[in-house]
Assembly symmetry: C2
């Protein structure tokens, strides 16, 4: 039996899960965000099986999260770069980072943190409503039909 697909479900969470809901894709995206662009660099960083990395990158290219760019013709060499769609995924990883740092580490917290590139201050991501700035938590949210 093939894996169940969610990529045509009406729920946004389902479609996103179809795309990044596996054990390697979020980490591949993380490496791309951190500036690793070459196959071997990602493979060594994650120690991911090469066949799996090739399959994940192919899927990300198909979905236009990433483009494969030749940076050298002879010998042919390629690198993988984030598209706008891919870059815009970063806040999702930032939200995951925050939750994980809060709940999956001991009291000392993780050995790495997010910092503002200019001020150097530690950044703690939270998720808020774009219009009101109010934190998005379950008690204040419901699901409904789009207006009109």
């Amino acid at each position: 039996m093939k894996r169940t697909r969610f990529d045509d479900w009406p729920c946004p969470i389902a479609r996103a899960t179809d795309l990044i809901g596996d054990w390697w894709t979020p980490l591949v995206m993380r490496d791309l965000f951190f500036g690793r662009r070459r196959f071997d660099a990602i493979q060594e960083s994650l120690r991911i099986p090469r066949a799996v990395l090739a399959a994940r990158l192919e899927r990300l290219v198909d979905e236009e999260m990433v483009v494969k760019v030749a940076y050298e013709d002879r010998p042919p060499r390629y690198e993988y770069r984030l598209t706008d769609k891919g870059r815009d995924f970063w806040p999702v990883l930032a939200a995951m980072w925050r939750w994980s740092a809060d709940w999956l580490f001991d009291a000392a917290g993780p050995p790495v943190v997010l910092k503002n590139r200019e001020t150097g201050r530690v950044v703690n991501p939270i998720v808020v409503d774009e219009d009101t700035g109010a934190p998005v938590d379950l008690r204040t949210i419901r699901v409904g039909r789009p207006p009109h």
Copy 2:
């Protein structure tokens, strides 16, 4: 070969991916957030294989995202309820929701939206720095060691 585990990696994204990085767990969490608490309700909603749902729920209980509560003794009946750790995961799904709604649907957008429970207004989640309120995007963030 066993699946590679990330749950002791120093990177928060890796640990979170180990826990929710599969094709069903985010959707199980979604159902719990939407108030489905019983095994059969989740199974029918997602049409997930029963064995897979049992394994996912067991993992979520082990990780203390969810507690299994008997709500009836004879006959024995159970339901699954989110813990604080589980409820705090909602912003991650909200960030996924926003990205997915922006990039994985046609111009009309998804047929469901998030709304403020009181005002009824549409909520568009964004990820910002808790202290400054500045949007968290890749250009302004770097990774560093925690202070001190």
